[in-house]
């Protein structure tokens, strides 16, 4: 299962960035696939991007809401909200763990050997602040003379945009180098901070700053796919926490907002059968392999023996 998940992450990343004609065309992909939002965070200005970033698209629509209404176009972003809501209703935050290219990057960078640090729980609420302020409120309220707002998160925060679009496009279109200023270096600094943080902590961007993860997380408790915790079998051994890419203690709640449903706890951690999942309440057959299930009583006797 861990190998399967890694392959799905790689395939999703490649499919989200499958336009390899860009060195020849010197531009970004402009085909019809760009009308579809990808489920993960992937900048649509990346030269290889084949789909639209849902966050960028949503901000653009909100930023252009007033002029659109004046022109008689009732574009409230229902198409994008519908796509995100549909995904969230089905699987909650699972796209973060399985198909988000930036999530994959964070997991790979975290493998670099270094001292590791946990992220304070209070910091994880900041992503909701980013969602409310930078995606919804500021693009709608702070507008120019013509009524147009700006894409605040893309412009001032998004490290994925800097990494996937900003840096590659400077190589692809050298004339852009003349236009870069303090803002570019500010965004470069944010990217650098997050890369260092990725080495030290598990998925810091997902946990602290990602508005897309914040949207999906709101569905975790009500999505069709849900995790189940069996307290009778759980020994609080912390193995799920040690292996969790989001630093979740599963026994404190089976569908916490930060759970990305990567299933590492189920497949690689819990030996006590305390973790399973269900789909819309329908009984789910869990396929177990390799690890023999251990009973709580056996653990108790092992501990007693050790003592």
């Amino acid at each position: 299962m861990p190998v399967l998940r890694r392959w799905i992450q790689i395939v999703a990343t490649v499919l989200s960035n499958a336009y390899w004609m860009f060195p020849h065309t010197k531009g970004i992909y402009q085909g019809t696939l760009k009308s579809m939002c990808v489920p993960g965070l992937n900048c649509y200005s990346c030269p290889a991007a084949t789909g639209a970033c849902p966050l960028g698209s949503l901000q653009s629509i909100i930023a252009g809401l007033r002029p659109a209404l004046k022109a008689g176009h009732f574009h409230f972003g229902t198409y994008i909200i519908g796509i995100l809501g549909l995904i969230g209703s089905l699987v909650g935050r699972m796209p973060c763990g399985w198909v988000c290219p930036f999530g994959l990057l964070q997991e790979l960078i975290h493998k670099i050997p270094s001292p590791k640090f946990e992220i304070a729980k209070t910091l994880t609420y900041m992503k909701y602040l980013f969602l409310a302020l930078f995606i919804l409120i500021l693009p709608a309220l702070v507008v120019d003379d013509y009524g147009y707002g700006i894409t605040w998160f893309c412009k001032f925060v998004c490290p994925a945009g800097t990494l996937e679009a900003g840096i590659p496009l400077l190589f692809l279109k050298p004339e852009l180098k003349e236009s870069i200023g303090a803002l570019f270096y500010f965004k470069l600094t944010i990217l650098f901070i997050f890369i260092v943080w990725m080495i030290l902590s598990r998925r810091p961007f997902c946990r602290v700053a990602c508005p897309l993860g914040a949207i999906y997380s709101l569905f975790n408790k009500h999505s069709a796919f849900r995790m189940i915790h069996d307290p009778d079998k759980c020994t609080h051994c912390q193995e799920c926490y040690n292996n969790c890419p989001m630093g979740i203690k599963f026994y404190e709640g089976s569908n916490q907002y930060d759970c990305i449903r990567c299933l590492k706890c189920l497949n690689e951690s819990c030996r006590f059968g305390a973790i399973s999942y269900e789909i819309a309440g329908m009984p789910v057959v869990k396929i177990r392999d390799r690890r023999p299930e251990v009973q709580r009583s056996e653990v108790g006797s092992q501990r007693a023996g050790n003592e």
């Binding site: 760009k34 574009h75 309440g281 329908m282």
Partner: protein
């Protein structure tokens, strides 16, 4: 490696209707958005280089 099929031991969870209601709601929103022409707006934004995303704009 032998695969084994096991049902969770705890009492079976009740079937939930709420996710399906959410799915229907968001499908309606998608269709509404398509009907209002938002697909072309998304396409239009996504096919242009976003200078804001680069930090140049």
């Amino acid at each position: 490696m032998k695969a084994e099929h096991i049902l969770p031991d705890s009492s079976p969870p009740q079937k939930r209707v709420f996710p399906f209601l959410l799915i229907i709601l968001f499908l309606i929103l998608i269709l509404l958005g398509i009907n209002l022409g938002e697909v072309s707006t998304v396409m239009e934004k996504a096919t242009k280089i976003c200078l804001d995303c680069i930090g140049v704009g």
